[in-house]
Amino acid sequence: MKNTDKKDVAAAPAKGFFATLTAAKVSKIVVAVFFVAVWALLAFGEGATLFRVAEQSLFLYNGHFLREAMALPAGFLSYIGAFFIQFFYYPVLGATVYVALLAALYLLTKKVFDIPARWSLLALLPVALVLAYSTQLGYWIFYIKIQGFYYMALLSTLASLLVAWVCLKYKALYAPAVILWAVGGYMLFGAYALGGAVVIAVASLVDRIKGRYGPLYVVSAALMLVAVCVLVYAVPQGMYHYNIYSNTMLSHMPFAGLPVHQWVDNVEMYPNGIFEYWLPIALLPVAYLLLALLRGSLADSGSGKKCWPYAVAQVVVAACVVAFTAVYWYGDVNFDVENKQNKAMWDEDWEAVAAYAMDSKLPTRQIVLNKNMALLKLGRLGEDAFKYPDGSSDIAHPGVVHLTQTGGMMNYYQYGKFNFCYRWCIENAVEYGWRAEYLKHAVRCMLLSGQHKLAMRYINILKETLFYRSWACEMEEYVNEPQKISKQEEFRMPLLMYKYPDALELDDSYVEVYLSKSLSNIHTKEDARLYAEAAVVFALVRKDVNLFWDTMSRYINKGKLTRVPHHFQEAIILFTNLNKDITTNIPIDFKVKSRFESFISEVKKLKGMKEEEMAPLFIEEYGDTYWYFYFFVRNIKTN
């Protein structure tokens, strides 16, 4: 086949570029375009998500971390997965490493299954499946309990392919290699090694049936397949469960390394099912079995005069690859905005945090909370809070997403709720394993609450990482010289918000509700303007008129005010209008008054119309007002 390709190329050197195109060349170009597109999309389109994936993982350069990982079957796979994930800290670098390994998977697939150049698109099928297994995740990055998950299918498939290559290339090594892979590979790669062993056994059987081997060889390969299947059943449950792993339930043993906790045991928590998440990994062995069946049959296919079946096949394969990749690529705008905001918050770029909130037409509460927090930091909360899209979009995830498990820890930290932030770091670490993001929150919370001994524990852990080491050293300097803490701009707001008396409270896992209630109840003399401004806005979000007046009076009474913020004026004029018994001498700008009058007059014109019908008519003119939020942004659901 390779010779044929060379002839095709050599036959047309003098013609134009398109005339020189051979099927093999077209395939190569398509493959190259595919990888470049995936790289570009990951590196530049999904940069914030990749960074978040790195933040939601942890890799420590010490023996303790390895030993801890190795305590579980497939722990080594998780370990090396976490190793590669750390490079997502720099998305371009991480995407490059990831796509390079995807390309290696493609090349190895071609090599192992002898896929000729003109059929090389077929080798993209497993690549697309492996890619989809990771890019489908979305909010699962917060919930998958396996550290190196993003890379696990890719790395384990590469490892299985290497074993397959040894088996097919060196026939004498086939039996020991495949048995070793099933028995020993299980400890390192879990279910992926077991699956790989079965595929290798099938591939070898097909190879021997197709090849010029005697019946003895075929029978022995068939027996080996049976033996591997027995091993796959017996090794985890019989051998390892009773002798090595007293930390994994019997029925979970064969599925080590797969997210069975989330996608099987918890299946009743997802009313619409989560079958589709399994599909890429379920189709992966199918794809390789298909390639095993086609092995050796593709050399001359489609090279005759009637090339249309070949062309159709190529188009179908390419379409499948692209369609599968596109369908499984998690592309939720809100998730992207949340991740961008998160990155910007760690970078202390609060203008960007607020600006990203504009990118979502119907934001999640996390986006709104982040934006309001940014505006509070920037001193514009009362002025601008309702000028952004608002609401409570459903989260694009099959289950319930609690802010306490995603971005809520940052909100707690910034609002000075260090104990609550720390609590959720610990609770989440218990359920999902320690992650860089939890550790960083834990460091800052314990640093700012004066618990330096505990802060040092987490600093020392982060010092064992590659990319968080310098950040950890920076934090260590504050432990050594705590007088510097209060002078640092990034700590200013959390420390100002921390000035409240201790109390025993529960958040019931609802960040926004808790913050809202807590800030409303806190009466502190120190820097209360910041508190009160936040409390007023929380009252406005809750549309709680009494609470608004209460918090507003606190806001007004905290010293000299040059001007009442814009949205507060809007609320005052609205609430005094709705309840004529309320009078106030708070000055309202002429512009606000006249705009409110026109708003009311517009509303009166549409009397009888439902709110949801009116909302689109008002958004253009009044979408930046509290009045619009009050009347038309309904059913705010927090989580």
């Binding site: 930390n247 104990n419 720390y422 610990i426 218990v430 201790d502």
Partner: protein, 500 residues
Amino acid sequence: MKNIALLFVSAVAMLACTPSVPSKYNATGVAPQIHPDYADVTVPVNIAPLVFEISEKGDDYVTRLSAAGTEFVFGGKEVAPSQEEWGELVAAAVGGEIKAEVFTAINDKWRAFNAFSIKVSPDTIDAYISYRLIPPSYVAYERLSISQRKLSTYEEKDIYNNMLVTAEPLGQCINCHAYKNHRTNNMQFHVRQYKGGTVVVNNGKAVKLNLATDSTLSAGVYPAFNPKYNVIAYSVNKTGQIFHTKHANKVEVQDSASDIILFDMNNLTVTNVANDTTKLEVFPWWSPDGRTLYYCSSHFPKRAPGQSAVDAEVRQYKTIKYSVLRRSYNPETGAFGAVDTVFNAAKMGKSATFPRVSPCGKYLLFAMAEYGCFHIWHQDADLYMMNLETGDFWPLEAANSQYAESYHSWNSTGRWILFASRRDDTNYSRLYIAHIGDDGRAEKAFLLPQQNADFYDFFDRSYNVPEFMVEPVQITPQEFAEVVEQDAVTVKYVSPKSEN
């Protein structure tokens, strides 16, 4: 010729790698900082090697450990004697001490620190300990194990691991392992939520029991095996958690109701022992003769009309103060005598918990803090000893720290105590062992040794409910899992008998 050359090269290499104590150095006049702090601790002869790291700055390190003519020199920042080296050292130092001399070099200039010692007691320690490994979390739990550790080595094995049976989304909590007389053929632990029940091993046979009845507050919680008779005392509790918004204690674990019950292992019955609704009763423990039951009790905070028990506790949590009480027990009739106050902590404005009588019956070991019952979350919690004959009590100053000490237990000989302390980082409970002298005073406690000096810096679980055992648990985790999978045997309630 080739072989001789190889031998020579090897010998040179070995010589080059063998550290030696520097001949010239400047004395610093101060003791070296080491981690963990094993300076001047007292250890039993049958403890695993104490591995420590020198926290002083230096380009090169040499440490000499010596005792009665035996000495070993170690190079490097981490000092990790082998099992054999350590064995020789402690054998030479029994009743005396191992001397540790630390030298560090900066720019080839050696400094010598003041030597410190590791005292080696002739009192041996029980061969095994067990504990629950749990992250210092609040509500969430995932991977939990009750594990056993051989003290003369670093070997640790699961007794039971909840991941053997647990299933999402219910999860499974395990807790409160306990033994009869430090032996493992009579032991118990609880399994909560999924497949919940109490696994009781009665003369080597494990069975899962449901200790909850309509007449008792809950299933059994804190257990105490009677050392002589076939009964187990339990507290039954309704427990909740609430969180400090600011305080470093972080969480308050409170009982809104708690009583004491007695479980008769022969007849599979439970009886209320102390169930005064105006009081909270918890943490039972038996005297060595099995004829006195000790426990803690606190008055319940005053409740406004209509106020819930939980709300009253949350608002007045600092007023909940436990004292140590006791009642006589008649094993023939099963009746309990009148209540006697052993240690009135509440009167002192304190709260005493976990009363543990020494195997000789002379001393009472307990944890005390300003308020409440869950002292592992109270940074002011310290261990105290009381002489039951004289009524004198004192803090175990050499064992305590400025952070929480709690969850203590006695060695079978009464010469060692094992307890959890949060002194290292304030949040993760680590196990410390202290020698107790004839006078009931503790010597400086040492951290449970591990193979690496920085083990605890990266270990993300707390050591919880440490207990001594003279032998390992023989039932495998998988066998326990099979018991846990079974339906629980329900016990019957019988009314308490009066002393008359």
